[in-house]
């Protein structure tokens, strides 16, 4: 019996969770349950990120994405706890169309995942032994965001050491974008009028 590769084991575990809960999101009709499944799926994806060595992205995924989805969940509860909207069943025809679509897309994407030979090559134990156990990711990431690519300093390939400019400008743009979005969202979400009987009839 070959020794269990724990990395693979956890990959399988998390990927299974992610995939199953993603499909569960599609299948479920209760909004709160959908949100629950979604959080599970996203959490599992965060686990996949940790496995891939992207600690910071994983933590961020947990914090922001899952936190954001949490709010979604609350919305779901608030908007649907009254009863009549708990389940908006998808019609059968839609299911068939969606399944067809999913089939076509999967048929397109899965061959694409294996189409590049380099992507199929796995890390050898020798190579992994050379890679340090847990690379520091947060600080280089932060430096990259403020404009310095310190992770490229130790790059062997001289070509890849070129262009060490980081992501300062995108970072600034995203910051401003976020601010604008928050203000806009706050503005949009103001209570302007209640739904009237006439509006409901529309």
């Amino acid at each position: 019996m070959e020794p269990i590769n724990w990395h693979t084991f956890f990959f399988l575990l998390f990927s299974l969770l992610a995939v199953v809960f993603a499909v569960a999101v599609v299948v479920a009709s209760n909004v709160v349950r959908m949100a629950f499944y979604l959080i599970m799926s996203l959490g599992a994806a965060a686990g996949l990120f940790f496995l891939a060595g992207a600690d910071f992205v994983g933590a961020m995924q947990l914090m922001i994405y899952v936190g954001g989805t949490l709010v979604l969940l609350i919305f779901g509860v608030m908007l649907t706890a009254q009863g009549p909207f708990i389940s908006m069943k998808t019609r059968g025809g839609d299911w068939i169309l969606a399944a067809l679509l999913a089939g076509i897309l999967l048929a397109l994407l899965i061959p694409a995942a294996f189409s590049v030979p380099a992507w199929r090559n796995r890390a050898t134990p020798e190579y992994l032994a050379g890679v340090r156990e847990r690379p520091a990711t947060s600080a280089p990431l932060a430096m990259g965001l403020v404009g310095a690519r310190v992770d490229r300093l130790a790059e062997a390939d001289a070509n890849r050491r070129e262009g060490m400019a980081g992501y300062l400008l995108p970072f600034e743009i995203v910051s401003v974008h976020l601010l604008v979005v928050l203000v806009g969202a706050a503005y949009l979400a103001r209570t302007k009028r209640r739904a009237t009987a006439e509006r409901r009839l529309l």
Binding site: D94, L97, A98, L101, I104, L105, L108
Partner: protein
């Protein structure tokens, strides 16, 4: 300080004094309503500005006195009629006697001493010089003092401040002409205006908040309710002062005209201040339109002057040609400053002869065309002797005087002034004393050297008619302000009469003194109206107990206007000036018996009437028992800010004429150079020198006549209204026709209505009918034609152009209708389409693009 410094200093001082009210006007126009509560500060700004003007004017006066003192080289011998000058007078009389002795038989110089005796001699005398020999005789008779006398000089500074435009020889400039008259007028205008400004702050306080005008009834029966216009009132006052000061300081006749019109428009604004009242707007319109009639003559005079003289300037502006005065009265002539038709006018009148000369010169080759002009000028002396050009001079004088008639409300155009009482009372005071009507007399005085004897006689008659007319109307008037208005007209008649009989100094002197006591009287009447809320004297009475300050200051004003005083000793200001006028008329009578008799009778009668109606006013208002208890109950003394100016003005009214103050001496410095001379058209018309009136033989009877008439009028008024021994109603019933005649103001308004307004309406109706029938018809037919064309155009547009556009639009419409089926608005469908599109794109890329 010397004359040079003064010539630099005065334009600055007076220019600043002139522009301060303009600055205030600008400030109030721009930010008026926001100045203080409801614009209260606007009043303070305007008052501060005019106060500044007054201070600057007084500074200018002080500077002038510092340099020139009270005497001038021209009038060293002049003295007043009062006791302080007895010694001087004696000297003067001695001189005159000496003169008479020395130059007896030499023509008109004898008139100075014995007018009646000398009159035939004068009439027969040579017309070339009349008054000049007086001076000449004096020189001969009293060589010692004569030698010490400097040559005739008049201190006047003139220059341009700014040249607005230059069209060929025409220079339109902002210039100044400053002599003693200008300075005195500045002081008078600014001081009185200052008093009136202060008074107005109190009088106009109602305008600080919303006003309900009980004299304006709206269509729904309610009274008009409007916002207060305090700041606007002061805005107009500032502009008014600016205009008047500009008129006074003006150095050319064009500038005078501009400010003349500005004064007119300001009075229009102020008379129509209560714009919602129909009577106010009508009065404002009347004032404005009647003034336009006078201005029409003014413009004719202006054109006559400029077209022949080529200049607007009064004096000789450095660097330019001679001014109007120098051209009319050539300083280098023989005798100097004698009135003669100027060369320009002579040439203008002799156009045909000049044309002949020019033709001759052009026919001869090799001759400079310019020489034609030189020759014409050389020959102009002969033409002048033929009398050419003199008519133009008379025309110019009459034209200018027309302006004065309009502005000073003289006989044919006097109708606007009583109606102008519709304005607020401080405005009446300003209009009647210092600004509007003073402008006319001021212009007459300023243009005095240009007036020929014929013109002056017209002026004298116009003044006399006005005087009598207004005085008689004033007897029956019951509106307190109207009485004062007619009194003003009457006094203006006095001034014009004085100017007309050659009494330049007396006229100007009366202008100044009258300004003080008339503004006093008007402000007093304003105070009464403020207290009683009515203008009707018949409803007043006994008010002196309620408002002593007003009553007794007004009493001072009445005494001043009737010329009260102890003969030969002392009197109020009116005493001196009216005395001087009567003396002047008497002096004139000495050489022109016929005219003189008429004019003196009118003047003396007018003096009596003045005393009568003024004291009628005072008794009716302040004395006796109250006739309307309600009004009496509510009457009250005005606030301090209103009666303090009254007191100040009363003080001025008392002392302004006192010889010790030297006002006449100061004015004498501004006397136009040269004498009036003798008429050319009416050769019998001769003018004595003004100083001839100082002779005791003229002076004493004049004083006595003035005192007697004033006393008579006063006594009559006292009998009727003070002591009530006589009943005015009985008199009224006895002479109903006369009463009606006077009550209806000699039917002038009706006459004008009949003679001018109705015909104009008739002609206008005719013109309107012509307009409607023919011109409108023509235009209507044109319009119909255009309409036909446009209908055709419309058809083309609708069916051809619109058709093409609509076709295109329909096409796109159907296209859009087809496409909208794709837009289902269903989110999920879109998502699916996106995915399908992405998949299709991938397959297409796979199929047609070779990926690396």
């Amino acid at each position: 300080m010397n004359e040079q410094t003064l010539s630099n200093l005065l334009p600055v001082l007076l220019g600043a004094a002139w522009l301060l009210p303009l600055a205030s006007f600008a400030v109030v126009v721009l930010v008026g309503p926001r100045l203080g509560k409801a614009g209260l500060l606007a009043g303070h700004v305007a008052t501060g500005a005019i106060l500044g003007s007054a201070v600057l004017s007084l500074l200018a006066l002080g500077a002038w006195l510092y340099v020139f003192g009270f005497t001038s080289g021209q009038a060293a011998h002049h003295g007043g009629a009062a006791g302080e000058h007895v010694q001087q007078e004696a000297e003067h009389n001695a001189a005159a006697r000496g003169r008479a002795d020395a130059s007896h038989g030499e023509g008109g110089d004898a008139i100075a001493d014995a007018p009646e005796a000398a009159a035939p001699a004068v009439a027969a005398a040579d017309g070339s010089t009349l008054s000049e020999p007086v001076r000449a005789g004096k020189r001969r008779a009293r060589p010692a003092p004569m030698v010490s006398l400097p040559p005739p000089v008049k201190h006047a500074f003139t220059d341009d401040w700014y040249t607005l435009a230059e069209f060929g020889s025409l220079r339109v400039t902002i210039s100044y002409y400053i002599d003693a008259l200008t300075v005195v007028m500045f002081v008078m205008v600014s001081v009185i205006a200052t008093c009136i400004h202060f008074y107005s702050i109190g009088y106009m306080h109602e305008e600080l908040h919303d006003v309900t005008d009980h004299e304006v009834t709206l269509s729904d029966g309610s009274y008009l309710h409007r916002r207060g216009r305090f700041h606007r009132f002061f805005q107009y006052l500032s502009l008014f002062c600016f205009s008047m000061l500009g008129l006074v300081v003006a150095g050319n006749i064009f500038m005078v005209f501009v400010f003349w019109e500005l004064v007119g428009i300001c009075s229009y604004f102020l008379i129509g201040f209560y714009i919602e009242r129909r009577s106010a707007t009508k009065a404002a319109n009347k004032a404005f339109i009647v003034n336009r009639v006078g201005d029409f003559g003014f413009i004719i005079g202006l054109m006559a002057l400029w077209s022949s003289l080529g200049t607007f300037a009064f004096g000789d502006v450095p660097g330019q040609g001679p001014g109007i005065f120098s051209q009319v009265r050539n300083p280098q002539g023989e005798p100097p400053h004698a009135l003669a038709a100027p060369t320009g006018m002579v040439l203008a009148s002799a156009q045909e002869r000049v044309a002949e000369i020019v033709r001759d010169h052009f026919n001869v080759p090799d001759v400079d065309p310019q020489s034609a002009w030189s020759e014409a000028v050389a020959r102009s002396g002969g033409w002048r002797a033929e009398g050419l050009g003199y008519g133009l001079l008379v025309l110019a004088g009459l034209g200018i005087f027309c302006g004065c008639v309009g502005k000073s409300a003289q006989f044919p155009l006097h109708v606007w002034l009583p109606d102008a009482m519709e304005g607020p009372t401080p405005v009446s005071a300003l209009v009647h004393s210092a600004t509007m009507v003073a402008a006319g007399v001021y212009l007459g005085a300023r243009f005095f050297p240009v007036f020929t004897p014929e013109v002056l006689l017209v002026i004298a008659y116009v003044g006399a008619i006005t005087l009598l007319l207004a005085a008689t109307i004033a007897i029956t008037a019951v509106d307190i302000k109207r009485v004062l208005a007619y009194s003003t007209v009457s006094q203006l008649g006095y001034m014009m009469l004085s100017l007309g009989v050659g009494g330049w100094l007396a006229g100007v002197f009366h202008l100044i003194t009258h300004a003080f006591f008339k503004s006093l009287l008007f402000l007093g009447s304003g105070s009464v109206i403020h207290a009683c809320h009515t203008n009707d004297m018949t409803r007043m009475g006994g008010l002196r107990r309620k408002m002593p300050w007003t009553a007794y200051t007004m009493l001072v004003g009445c005494l001043a206007i009737i010329g009260a005083g102890i003969p030969f000793l002392i009197g109020l200001s009116g005493y001196y000036s009216k005395d001087a006028i009567l003396a002047q008329v008497l002096s004139f009578r000495g050489v022109n018996m016929f005219h003189g008799n008429i004019l003196f009778a009118v003047a003396a009668g007018g003096a009596a009437l003045t005393a009568f109606y003024m004291f009628r006013l005072w008794y009716l208002t302040f004395a006796g028992e109250p006739r309307d208890e309600h009004i009496y109950e509510h009457a009250h003394e005005s606030p301090q800010i209103m009666y303090v100016p009254l007191v100040i003005l009363a003080g001025a009214a008392v002392v302004a004429g006192w010889p010790i103050l030297g006002l006449t001496d100061l004015l004498e410095q501004a006397r136009p150079l040269g004498d009036v001379g003798r008429g050319v058209m009416w050769a019998s018309l001769a003018y004595p020198h003004e100083h001839a009136s100082h002779a005791a033989s003229i002076h004493v009877p004049a004083t006595l006549a003035a005192a007697a008439t004033a006393l008579g009028g006063f006594l009559l008024a006292t009998l009727f209204y003070g002591l009530r021994w006589l009943n005015p109603n009985e008199v009224r019933q006895q002479f109903p026709a006369v009463y009606r005649w006077l009550w209806n103001k000699w039917y002038f308004d009706e006459f004008y209505d009949l003679v001018f307004v109705r015909p104009v309406h008739f002609v206008a109706a005719l013109a309107a009918r012509f307009d409607r029938r023919w011109i409108d018809g023509l235009i209507d037919s044109l319009a119909r034609w255009v309409r036909g064309v446009s209908i055709l155009d419309d058809v083309l547009d609708r069916y051809l152009v619109d058709g093409a556009v609509n076709l295109t639009a329909d096409w796109f419409w159907s296209l859009g209708r087809g496409l909208r089926n794709v837009q289902t608005g269903r989110l999920r469908q879109y998502v699916m389409l996106i995915v399908v599109g992405a998949v299709a794109l991938t397959f297409l890329l796979e199929a047609f693009v070779s990926l690396p």
